[in-house]
């Protein structure tokens, strides 16, 4: 599945819910899911600052693709973290660089990705793009 297809899939999953409770219950469920980040990466080095809740992000390159793992101490944040990982992990750098996060908006969670919300998610997306940039440079060397 391409990034766009995965995003579309998420959108249709969320379209099943007609009230906020079901949506958040689903989000919370996803927040409880693996893949968690390897505990040894839950250090300040991998911490993305965001003062309400904390997000840790780790990236690995295998066969030209970038694999992300992440965690958060807040479960709703983590639900969104996992959505982002589902979309962006296992992709090639260029795919990641070209993708946007409009699907978050379309499933009605826009406020969580607002630069004014200090939950670290905006920084996480930035960080994922940065990783993609760096790995891309590495490849071309």
């Amino acid at each position: 599945m391409t990034i766009a297809e995965t995003q579309q899939q998420i959108i249709s999953e969320f379209s099943l819910f007609d009230d906020w409770m079901d949506k958040y219950n689903y989000l919370i469920e996803m927040g409880r899911e693996v893949p968690r980040i390897d505990e040894r990466y839950k250090t300040n080095n991998h911490l993305i600052s965001g003062c309400q809740s904390r997000v840790w992000l780790h990236a690995d390159m295998r066969d030209g693709k970038i694999y992300f793992t992440a965690d958060s101490d807040a479960v709703i944040t983590k639900g969104i973290v996992n959505l982002l990982i589902r979309v962006f992990s296992g992709r090639m750098p260029d795919e990641i660089l070209e993708a946007d996060t409009d699907f978050i908006d379309q499933i009605g969670l826009k406020e969580h990705l607002s630069p004014t919300r200090s939950n670290g998610l905006v920084s996480m997306v930035k960080q994922m793009k940065l990783y993609a940039q760096v790995y891309k440079l590495k490849q071309s060397n």
């Binding site: 906020w20 409770m21 958040y24 219950n25 919370i28 003062c51 309400q52 809740s53 904390r54 101490d73 807040a74 479960v75 709703i76 944040t77 939950n119």
Partner: protein, 410 residues
């Protein structure tokens, strides 16, 4: 003295347009009053009247609007002086808020009073605004920051406070009411203790002014600071009160505008009090709005307000404590305005996010008091904070929302 009756609360609420809206289609429960309070219609109307017909720059203007605005501005200064029972209006300095008031004081004292080898004493429950300015002055001037510890209830350890006073700090800067814990410091007693050792005291009244009546002469504090926006007034306006002795000694901190007397390129002499400390065009509208907020507040008896809020807090506590895993952060004997809690197995920000969806506005996080969070080893808390217009329905709304959120999260 009885708390407000239901019809009285309804009357009070009718003055606050913001309370009558729906959020996500649900009745709006506003319990973020420690961050900022809503504004009564009278305050909004005052701003409209000012900007529609009275707007002018003040002082030194000979034209009609300027005279009128100057008069209104100085009348408001008197109202503020009366409100905290300052002995003279020129002891009231208008700033943009508590934070600026503290910074003004720190910026002035560092020039002549807080010097190398000196110390400043604070408590462990200070808001960053009454902590970081002192910490930075101490750092710049090689002075020491002393911190009176909190006990497990979130009260200042008075023995430790007394011990630190023996180190002869040059100033004690203490909050009246903690915005993170709701603890009420026994400020009068602490001021007495400090004065016995010759230590002047700044009281951070940001969380006090909407909940308890203030008499700076009875407290005998040397400095008192607060913000208009936390007591039903507009944003962008605050107050620094100081004893005349200090204001006379203190050099100005900001420069420009009407705070001067004579200016040449070589030298500047400064204006008399209080103008010496008010650089630049003042926020006239803000000051007039603050006066209206005080006039509004004065219609009610502060003791009744306090009773009412305490009753609500009591009711909220009783209900919330039925939720499994509920843990209060801050259980001082004497508390006001604020309930702070965490629920085991949940993150405060998750609770905040979910109760918001149910129309309940609380604050989550460290409440600009990170050392308090460190002290109680929590990443943050959920904080419900009360004002005179809150009702039992708000308490019920809070309880139901938190209960549901916790259910969803566990």
């Amino acid at each position: 003295m009885k708390p407000f009756a239901d019809n009285e609360i309804a009357e009070i609420r009718s003055h606050f347009p913001a309370l009558h809206q729906k959020v996500y289609g649900k009745p709006f429960v506003y319990l973020d009053n420690a961050a900022t309070t809503q504004k009564p219609q009278a305050v909004i109307d005052r701003l409209v009247a000012y900007y529609s017909l009275e707007n002018s720059n003040i002082h030194r203007g000979v034209h009609y609007l300027s005279q009128q605005a100057t008069q209104a501005y100085e009348d408001a200064r008197q109202t503020v002086a009366d409100f905290i029972n300052a002995s003279a209006a020129n002891q009231i300095i208008f700033t943009k808020g508590t934070t600026e008031s503290v910074n003004l004081l720190a910026g002035s004292l560092r020039q002549f009073y807080l010097l190398e080898g000196d110390a400043v004493l604070i408590t462990g429950m200070e808001h960053h605004s009454n902590l970081v300015p002192w910490q930075q002055v101490c750092k710049q001037n090689q002075a020491e920051l002393l911190v009176a510890a909190l006990n497990d209830k979130g009260e200042t350890d008075l023995d430790h406070f007394a011990e630190l006073l023996d180190k002869k700090p040059k100033l004690a800067a203490i909050t009246h009411i903690s915005n993170a814990l709701g603890s009420v410091n026994p400020v009068k007693e602490m001021i007495r203790m400090a004065h016995e050792k010759g230590v002047p005291v700044l009281v951070d009244g940001a969380q006090a002014v909407a909940h308890t009546s203030i008499d700076v002469q009875e407290l005998d504090c040397d400095f008192f600071v607060f913000s208009g926006h936390k007591m039903f007034g507009p944003m962008g306006i605050g107050v620094l009160y100081a004893k005349a002795f200090w204001l006379q000694k203190m050099p100005p901190w900001q420069f420009g505008g009407e705070m001067v007397d004579q200016v040449s390129f070589e030298e500047t002499t400064f204006n008399q009090l209080p103008f010496k400390f008010e650089a630049g065009t003042p926020n006239v509208a803000g000051v007039l709005g603050l006066k209206t907020a005080i006039d509004f507040l004065k219609q009610y008896d502060m003791e009744v307000i306090a009773k009412h809020e305490n009753q609500l807090m009591q009711q909220a506590l009783e209900k919330l404590l039925t939720i499994p895993g509920m843990r209060l952060i801050g259980e001082a004997e004497n508390r006001a305005g604020v309930i702070s809690f965490v629920v085991d197995g949940t993150h405060p920000s998750d609770i905040g996010t979910l109760v918001d969806k149910m129309g309940v506005a609380v604050r989550t996080g460290h409440h600009c008091a990170q050392p308090v969070m460190t002290r109680f080893d929590v990443p943050g808390t959920v904080r419900a904070s009360f004002a005179l217009y809150n009702s039992l329905a708000d308490v019920e709304g809070l309880f139901q929302a938190v209960k549901k959120a916790v259910m969803m999260l566990r």
